[in-house]
């Protein structure tokens, strides 16, 4: 550890660490940007030893950066791991709260990269070209740099840090060498052309600068939110269907940005209930980070819904709604997608038990879940859109209406809003004439081999039915999504080499679409003692829906089963 520190101290002068605050140093090209002064005495005392303070109250580096709670947490951990900083847990918590709020992101800046804090695997659309991808998104998601806002000079210093720590970063930035691609077409023949690293820094300085109008505006509006009270929850879990319920929030007596929660959720699929208790912190007035748990049984399955979960929510600025994900798993592969809304005395519609209605069907029962629903309801008060007739209300309570509906055989296919008098639930249910095709969701997935020491990364699949839409062509943008369909699951080989035998080794797919990967480590049963990795198709075969030729509809999802990740960059402490 000491040798590590010594070698780092030798490296530091090479980084050209000039205090950003002094206007005389720095490039002659432009005046340095205004920093954001640090006003926390704790930060000044713990960080000011290395981060020099100027006479405006700025601390070097820190005052020229803004980030999400996860971003700051990652930096703080690096300071403790590689720069010898020592923080007690309480100090770390206070420092993080200050930095993530007073030097945080505005909601409008955080929303495009919320998926990163929510630990979702998504196809990123925020990478402008292959140059920036090669410089910034080859190793980690593009969302990582985009979780920060920095001055131009600070972005340059970030590039320097990468080059100092990671030789592959130097290859990528300076030479444009992406591992394995040593072709001459990579390097620009013009010696004065900006290197890929410089191009990437130019891009980041443009789209993620320190000072933005959004931040100026939010800085003035920011305050600890008043969240105590009752919230209505609607949630969806891949493979388990939809849930509805409530969350009771209480403010902590000691801190105005901390809360305790009690959640009760009911499954629309089988009526089972889950109760959970938890705690949370809200950063920057809107970024909720929490942790909650139910009562998991002793050998519960890994996807058990009572597991301890981390919560990431983004509160709307008017504090009436919140949206996000509650997740768990070694790779955070399991999660509830949640939407919350403040409970009110006004009738509110939350969700429906069915996702679709077939044309020509009669006396289908639908359950509409809500809150504060009126005591007297007639069939005429409930409207499911054109072509759907509510025959009668079977029963109703303030939280639920059960109705019987008929659907005309010529009703237009598409999503319907459901209205109860003046309360509307948008796109609540889809009308369809037939299921034209099914898709497996996710359509490209990754599972991780594992064992006791390196926990597995599981993958749940679901099959979703689609109607071809008004243009009459399947697989086009206007297709109507109908919700999950009943399927049987199987694994099919994806041939990437002759004698490809992956599907014998990668693991197993259950009848509910839950994939359990095999063990990690070399497998002597396989040629060359390879690992149990492989790429296969997860195939869904519809149990009821058929195509024009009478064959069952099928869909396929691409599944790669691969080796564990031995490094997990994660910041679970933000919610503690």
């Amino acid at each position: 550890m000491r040798i590590l520190l010594a070698s780092l101290l030798l490296v530091l002068p090479l980084l050209g660490q000039k205090p950003q605050a002094s206007p005389s140093a720095g490039s002659a090209k432009s005046t340095p940007e205004e920093g954001i002064p640090v006003t926390s005495q704790l930060v000044i005392s713990k960080c000011g030893g290395c981060h020099k303070q100027d006479d405006h109250g700025n601390l070097s580096r820190i005052s020229w950066e803004r980030a999400t709670p996860e971003g700051w947490e990652q930096a703080m951990k690096r300071m403790q791991r590689t720069r010898g900083v020592r923080l007690a847990p309480e100090e770390a918590r206070s420092i993080l709260k200050y930095l993530a709020s007073d030097h945080g992101l505005a909601p409008a800046e955080a929303t495009p990269i919320d998926y990163y804090a929510e630990r979702r695997t998504v196809d990123e659309t925020n990478i402008p070209n292959d140059t920036v991808k090669g410089a910034c998104a080859n190793c980690h998601a593009m969302a990582r740099p985009l979780s920060w806002r920095r001055s131009k000079e600070d972005w340059t210093l970030l590039g320097n840090l990468h080059v100092a720590l990671y030789p592959t970063a130097d290859e990528a930035f300076r030479l444009g060498l992406v591992a394995g691609n040593y072709g001459p077409d990579r390097a620009d023949p013009d010696p004065n052309a900006p290197t890929p690293g410089e191009q990437a820094l130019t891009y980041l300085s443009k789209v993620a600068p320190l000072h933005t109008p959004e931040w100026s505006a939010w800085r003035a509006r920011m305050r600890p939110p008043k969240l105590a009270g009752r919230w209505l929850v609607s949630a969806n879990v891949l493979g388990h269907g939809r849930f509805y319920g409530e969350m009771l929030v209480e403010a902590s007596p000691t801190a105005d940005d901390e809360f305790t929660t009690k959640v009760k959720l009911t499954s629309l699929r089988d009526g089972s209930t889950i109760t959970r208790t938890g705690k949370s912190v809200v950063y920057a007035g809107y970024a909720w980070r929490g942790r909650s748990t139910g009562t998991p049984a002793a050998n519960a399955s890994p996807d058990n819904l009572q597991s301890e979960m981390r919560e990431v929510l983004s509160l709307s600025p008017d504090q009436s709604t919140a949206e996000g994900r509650w997740f768990w798993g070694q790779y955070q592969e399991f999660g509830f997608d949640v939407k919350l809304r403040r409970a009110s005395a006004d009738p509110t519609l939350i969700t429906m038990d069915r996702t679709s209605l077939k044309t020509g069907s009669q006396a289908t029962r639908v359950r509409l879940i809500g809150e504060s629903l009126p005591a007297d309801i007639a069939a005429a008060d409930l409207d499911l859109g054109a072509g759907v007739t509510v025959k009668r209300i079977v029963s109703h309570t303030p939280q639920e209406i059960v109705a019987e509906v008929d659907v005309a055989s010529n009703a237009v296919s598409g999503k319907r809003d459901v209205a109860l008098r003046r309360s509307v639930l948008e796109s609540a249910i889809a009308v369809y004439d037939r299921v034209d095709y099914i898709k497996v969701s996710p359509d490209a997935a990754m599972a991780r081999l594992g064992s006791e020491r390196h926990p597995k990364g599981y993958q749940q699949f679901e099959a979703i039915g689609y109607q071809r839409g008004a243009d009459g062509k399947p697989h086009t943008a206007d297709d109507v999504e109908l919700g999950p369909v009943d399927v049987s699951w199987s694994v099919e080989e994806f041939y990437s080499s002759y004698n490809d035998d992956d599907k014998e080794f990668v693991g197993s797919l259950s009848s509910t679409g839950f994939f359990t990967p095999a063990s990690d480590g070399p497998n002597p049963q396989r040629q060359f003692s390879r690992n149990n990795y492989g790429n296969v198709w997860a195939v869904a075969t519809a149990k009821n829906e058929k195509d024009k030729d009478g064959k069952p509809l099928t869909g396929k999802g691409y599944l790669v089963v691969t080796v564990p990740a031995y490094v997990i960059f994660d910041q679970p402490e933000v919610g503690q």
Partner: protein, 113 residues
């Protein structure tokens, strides 16, 4: 391969192979353009030499066989710093309990930087 019928086992295998490539209808393969580019699942490192989670074709056929055979090279050259602990700065002792990765792979720790 609709106008041809396989007559021996090798032909049947080729028929199988080609039909899985051309006749499947998958959401992710909308249109001919998508069929030409390999689909690297989201979340994979894109440094392909040969790659950590997947190789450059988006599959696992090109990975080291097994990965433990070459894992010290990944580690000491810090090749996949977001997937494998790096030797230079963050986890110099990662392999201290693991003399031969192909045998002692259970002793490799997961590092949380």
């Amino acid at each position: 391969m609709r106008h041809m019928r396989p007559l021996n086992k090798k032909a049947a295998r080729i028929d199988d192979y080609v039909s899985t490539l051309t006749e499947d209808v998958v959401g992710l393969q909308d249109g001919p353009a998508a069929q030409q580019r390999p689909h690297v699942p989201m979340g994979c490192a894109l440094m392909f030499s040969p790659g950590w989670e997947v190789d450059s074709a988006g599959g696992t056929a090109g990975l080291c066989q097994p990965v433990e055979r070459d894992i010290y090279d990944c580690f000491s050259t810090c090749y996949w710093p977001a997937q494998v602990p790096d030797h230079l700065n963050n986890a110099p002792d990662w392999t201290s309990k693991c003399a031969a990765a192909t045998k002692d792979w259970r002793n490799l720790d997961i590092v949380f930087p």
